[in-house]
């Protein structure tokens, strides 16, 4: 590994993934190479069904790839192995996720939802509560801490989800169309918050989006087509 690689927080080498659909093999990803530097951001665009979500799932080790290698910082993972619980523990601290749907847990308050991240990464609740409140404040939902998520608007929910992804200081955020369910104005606000907070906190970001404006806001933009990443 060269010195240069020290700065790389997430790297994929030759990731391939295919699904078998009704007996036929559907190749989704072919030889994906990707390098993400610390505190940098990368946007991925592509047609619907081209494999963007699949790529993020492989990077987060939610499912095994057909072949390829993954680097989570210094940790090297064989991408075709089945994800194990040791990786789950790494993932808890290393990667934060934001999805198009917010996936907040309805039985918990907003604050408890954010603190779930802290619980899962086995960090001290008391130490991180302050940070959670501060993040919610920055996201503009500081006054909703004790609300339950079903009483929030879509934009508010996504802000909470972003706070949840960031609260335990992950190295990388994987965001899959975080504004997909929001109207343009709200989406713009949420996207600004996400981008600004990531760059302020020095968190690397991979952003999957359909919106070219948001894509342009990241340091690097790419396009997923025919199973390959094309950098612009």
């Amino acid at each position: 590994m060269s010195n240069n690689d020290r700065n790389i927080v997430l790297q994929a080498e030759g990731l391939c993934k295919s699904f078998s659909v009704v007996g036929e093999k559907l190749k989704v990803l072919e030889e994906i190479d990707l390098k993400l530097k610390k505190s940098s951001s990368l946007s991925i665009r592509g047609d619907s069904g081209c494999g963007k979500t699949t790529l993020l799932n492989l990077l987060a080790r939610l499912e095994p790839a057909d072949s390829g290698l993954l680097h989570w910082g210094a940790k090297i993972i064989n991408a075709q192995d089945k994800p194990c619980s040791k990786e789950a523990n790494w993932r808890a601290k290393y990667i934060g996720v934001v999805y198009q749907s917010y996936y907040l847990i309805p039985e918990l308050t907003v604050l408890e939802n954010v603190m779930m991240s802290v619980r899962l990464s086995k960090l001290s609740l008391t130490n991180y509560k302050e940070r959670a409140l501060q993040l919610l404040e920055e996201m503009g939902v500081g006054n909703k801490c004790q609300q339950i998520p079903t009483k929030l608007s879509g934009g508010e929910r996504q802000r909470v989800a972003i706070a949840r992804a960031l609260v335990n200081n992950p190295v990388v955020i994987l965001a899959d169309e975080p504004t997909g369910n929001l109207d343009e104005r709200t989406g713009g606000e949420v996207m600004d918050l996400l981008l600004n907070t990531c760059s302020k906190e020095g968190t690397s970001l991979i952003l999957v989006t359909h919106n070219p404006n948001y894509a342009r806001a990241t340091e690097q933009s790419s396009f997923l087509k025919d199973g390959r990443l094309i950098y612009e």
Partner: protein, 537 residues
């Protein structure tokens, strides 16, 4: 607490933030609680009945019975040997056999037992039996003042018989009624004091007795025939006319007695029975008809244990000897040990064996549970029955909880996917559902125990309420005759080890079943592919 997030989530899914409790968990917990409650109550009551049967059996035959292995002439010596043992509290020698008892054309052949009148209340609580069998006559214009007979009235020409024998023969012991004069209701006024009868022996004659006050202190006691009249004052009390006459007692009330206060009493003498022994009947065949032995009915008794002879008679040992035409014989002893020995069957057995040795092997000493082995078969059967009932109940509960949790898993597929994406291991995600089962089981079990304690605490009023609703006031008397739940001893868990183990068993059972019920949903959740879970709509 850092790693306990599955427990935290399990708790929160049952008791969500900003809401008191979820409907599902409320139902599940109440369900488990009711189940645990019913099981504990049923078992506790069964144990209460078992305990009652035990004491009833022991009451009717003592802890052990010694039977001579060959004709003993020196049985009195053996009695002394047994009495000398430090562990023994009471010994009662007895004679037994069957006698033909007749009243006019009615007859019965009760199982008859002769005991020493002096220790008549020794091993067998005959006075208790007499109390059970005593039935006061309910009259519209009279009040039954007959005192409950005791073994003190037992002599050679007196017998006690069971209710069933008395009914068959149409006989009764001596009885005394206070007759109310309906025209002079003031005389019945309760506040004027109470006249009771403290002794009514089996030899009193039928007749009427009158107590009449001449002023607030002095009164006369006389019979209606006018052959007897005694004057007395409240200070000295009513005179004792001796054996063969009723003895009264007067208690003063709030208002003093007044001149002209008259109290009338009617005495009915006890029935006379003609008794034949088997040998007398044998002789009758050869035309040597001996006159029957005439005895008085001294009292009617009832043995609480249903297994005891329904037709039975108690007389003195000498009466039985006379009937058998033998002198100084004994068929065996009833033995009662001191209380520290009879709770433990094993020790009781050892004690009996040791007693046999001490009696030089002339006597066989049988503990009550050997003689009543069937009783333990019954208990075993009852236990099996309980297990048989418990298994399906447990299964039904487990299925209900499993299905409910399974629905939760399916409803929360995407949340489960997210938890894995956020760094939860799939195993840990699965344990959320086991924990939910565990929480439901624990809370339900505790609630069920609380309910069971309440039930045991208020069982009498509850049973009373239920039985009167179903059977009515009169039916209740009938029910209590068979299932005397009022006298049932149902101990709290802090009072008896058996009760404690019942409670603990069902707590553990409920927790175990509920937790196991969570296993299937847990496995389902853990098996889920997180990527697909997140995709699912």
């Amino acid at each position: 607490m850092k790693s306990a997030w599955p427990l935290f989530l399990a708790w929160k899914q049952l008791f969500p933030s900003q809401r008191k409790v979820s409907f599902f968990s409320l139902l599940a917990i109440i369900g488990v609680a009711l189940g645990v409650n019913v099981m504990i109550v049923v078992v506790a009551f069964m144990q209460g009945f078992q305990q009652k049967f035990r004491t009833d059996i022991i009451d009717s035959q003592g802890h052990a019975r010694a039977v001579p292995l060959h004709r003993q002439l020196d049985w009195r010596e053996s009695v002394e040997t047994i009495k000398g043992k430090s562990q023994v509290s009471k010994v009662t020698p007895y004679l037994q056999g069957h006698l033909l008892v007749q009243n006019r054309d009615y007859n019965a052949v009760p199982f008859s037992m002769g005991i020493e009148p002096t220790d008549g209340n020794g091993v067998l609580p005959i006075n208790e039996f007499l109390k059970n069998g005593h039935i006061a006559i309910q009259g519209y214009d009279s009040k039954d003042l007959t005192p409950v007979p005791t073994t003190q009235t037992l002599e050679d020409d007196v017998v006690f018989i069971t209710q069933q024998v008395a009914n068959r023969l149409g006989v009764r012991p001596s009885t005394i009624l206070q007759i109310y004069d309906l025209n002079k209701s003031e005389n019945n006024s309760i506040s004027k004091g109470d006249i009771s009868v403290v002794r009514l022996d089996p030899f009193v004659k039928s007749g009427e007795w009158v107590i009449e006050f001449s002023n607030d202190q002095n009164f006369s006691l006389r019979n209606a025939l006018g052959t007897i009249e005694r004057h007395a004052s409240l200070g000295s009390g009513p005179p004792d006319l001796g054996w063969g006459y009723p003895k009264f007692d007067i208690k003063e009330g709030d208002y003093p007695f007044a001149s002209g206060d008259i109290y009338k009493f009617q005495v009915f003498r006890s029935s006379i029975l003609e008794v034949y022994s088997p040998s007398m009947i044998e002789n009758a065949k050869s035309d040597e008809m001996a006159p029957p032995r005439e005895v008085r009915v001294g009292g009617i008794f009832e043995v609480p244990w249903q297994g005891f002879h329904a037709d039975a008679l108690f007389g003195t040992r000498r009466f039985m000897e006379d009937m058998r035409g033998e002198v100084d014989v004994c068929d065996g002893f009833f033995i009662k040990f001191k209380s520290e020995f009879f709770e433990d069957e094993g020790r009781l057995g050892q004690l009996c064996t040791k007693l046999e040795d001490d009696l030089d092997g002339d006597w066989s000493v049988m503990p009550w549970f050997v003689e009543n082995a069937w009783f333990f078969d019954l208990l075993k059967f009852e236990e099996y029955l309980m297990v048989l009932i418990m298994i399906p109940i447990g299964l039904v509960a487990a299925f209900a909880i499993a299905i409910a949790l399974m629905t939760t898993v399916l409803r929360k597929i995407r949340e489960i996917g997210l938890l894995v994406a956020m760094g939860g291991s799939r195993f840990a995600v699965g344990t959320i559902f086991c924990f939910q089962g565990f929480i439901i089981g624990s809370m339900g079990a505790l609630l069920g125990c609380a309910l069971a304690l309440l039930f045991i605490r208020y069982r009498d009023s509850l049973m009373n309420f239920i039985v009167t609703r179903i059977a009515g006031e009169e039916g209740q008397a009938g029910v209590t005759q068979f299932y005397d739940f009022y006298s049932l001893d149902v101990p709290y868990p802090w009072e008896s080890e058996q009760s404690l183990s019942t409670f603990l068993t069902f707590i553990l059972f409920a927790i175990l079943v509920s937790t196991v019920a969570g296993l299937l949903p847990a496995w389902r959740a853990a098996r889920m592919n997180p990527a697909e879970a997140l995709r699912s709509e």
